[in-house]
Amino acid sequence: MIPDFLNDPSHWGHFLFWSAFKVMMAFAIIMPMVAYSVMLERRVSAAIQDRIGPNRVGPFGILQPMADGLKAILKEDFTPSHVRRIYFILAPAISMIPAFLTVAVIPFGSKLGNQNMVIANLNVGILYTFSIVSLGVYGIVLAGYASNSKYPFLGGIRASAQMISYEIAMGMAAVPVFMLVGDLNLGKVIAYQADGAWLVFKQPIAFVIFLVSAFAETNRLPFDMPESETELVSGYNTEYSSMKFALFFMGEYAAMISVSALMVTLFFGGWTLPFMGLNETATSLAGGILHILIFLIKIAFFMILFVWIRWMLPRFRYDQLMDLGWKRFLPLALANIIITAVILWIGHL
């Protein structure tokens, strides 16, 4: 994983250039996706509630995210006097960063020219992802602590308990995938799915647990207890305004995108499609771009699912949430691991 060229100065320039290029590209793709998923959320919710939604700015309202961004920047950045100032400023940034770090190991395409379309091809890719996901809780907890008032504090406490609990279910749900693949590298997971069936068909239980845990990890309805605007007046971000609030908001959507990318990679074959030879590594430039597009479309599908569920389901009660995580999903995930192990063992006999 630390390739030898790190010790070979003649390759540094090449390595740094391509890494920087890929990081920039991933960033340049994700930021507009974040903006337009907010837009998507507003339009879909409007459709579900039989409204029209934002359609004034630009044709069909497609410039609405720019207007939102401009509004967030121009608003007064108000800091209440009772907050713990350093953490108050740090928390929004901390909540944003892990979502972007996760993307680093996810292969978002096959090949473009002679470059693999993954920023860092780690051989412990999934472990890296889970360790970064587990850092996501700090932004919210610190926001709750820094705000130094009742509702944000309760939101922060709820968030830390909820995210730790569901992280375990999420990790356990992903274990059978790697038992089948036999490798922790996400590129190998995609290669395995390209050869056979997508893992969602082989591990449906794991996928369902992973999906529901993803909702809890990103604090989305029906598990948005840390925010729950009706009882905690939007929880940890109550005291935030202007761009700091916008950072939390964007952090939430960025986390949704990265967890969708993870689900696409683990269960839906990543950038592959099982027909028209799209399972093969691209040889032409057009093929490479097509693979990236396939990946983005699969993510978009999950984003729509996230939004759709938010406007269809009511919120859980907190004890029901904990029950679901610890008493249903964790045992189910463990049973799934054992069953997978037994099937693999029988296959080896």
Partner: protein, 166 residues
């Protein structure tokens, strides 16, 4: 490049470690906890330099992701103010630092004198698979005991956090 990264991560680890225990600006336990997170993460960087990739990931996942969140959780729940404002007793501070320097200096002296790294080349590739094989063959008993230990720990915590501790 590797030397550069080593000095970067090592100095980060030590500086953040120092700020955990003796932050000149604040005695706030939350600040200590946050610097502990930074210490752990930069130490994961050192693990990566030692090619222990699995352990680096586990280090971040378990320590930064769970243990320190627990710390924060308890600090927030107990609402501990940074009360520790009264200074240290100068004599005990002096003696403590002296003893510390003596112990640290002794260990470092003996490391330097013993030529412990002489002729040793970095060679082990800490692949996840080999670690797993080792864990489930030679160390399988220890592994099982660890499971029991975790169970006992869990039961202890549940008992201890009952409201009416008798």
């Amino acid at each position: 490049m590797e030397a550069l990264l080593f000095y970067l991560f090592a100095s980060l680890t030590l500086i953040c470690g120092l700020l955990v225990v003796a932050n000149p600006l604040t005695r706030n336990p939350v600040t200590s906890a946050m610097f502990l997170v930074l210490t752990i993460v930069s130490m994961a960087g050192l693990f990566v330099l030692l090619h222990a990739f699995f352990l680096a990931a586990v280090q971040v996942m378990v320590y930064a992701g769970a243990v320190i969140v627990l710390f924060l959780f308890v600090i927030m729940l107990l609402d501990i103010k940074s009360v520790e404002q009264k200074g240290f007793n100068p004599l005990s501070l002096f003696m403590g630092l002296l003893g510390l320097l003596a112990v640290g200096g002794m260990v470092i002296q003996s490391i330097l004198r013993s030529n412990v790294g002489q002729g040793l080349k970095p060679q082990l590739e800490g692949a996840t698979k080999e670690l797993g094989v080792e864990l489930f063959t030679h160390y399988v008993l220890a592994f099982e005991i660890m499971g029991v230990l975790l169970l006992v720990g869990m039961m202890g915590v549940i008992l201890l956090s009952k409201k009416d501790l008798k």
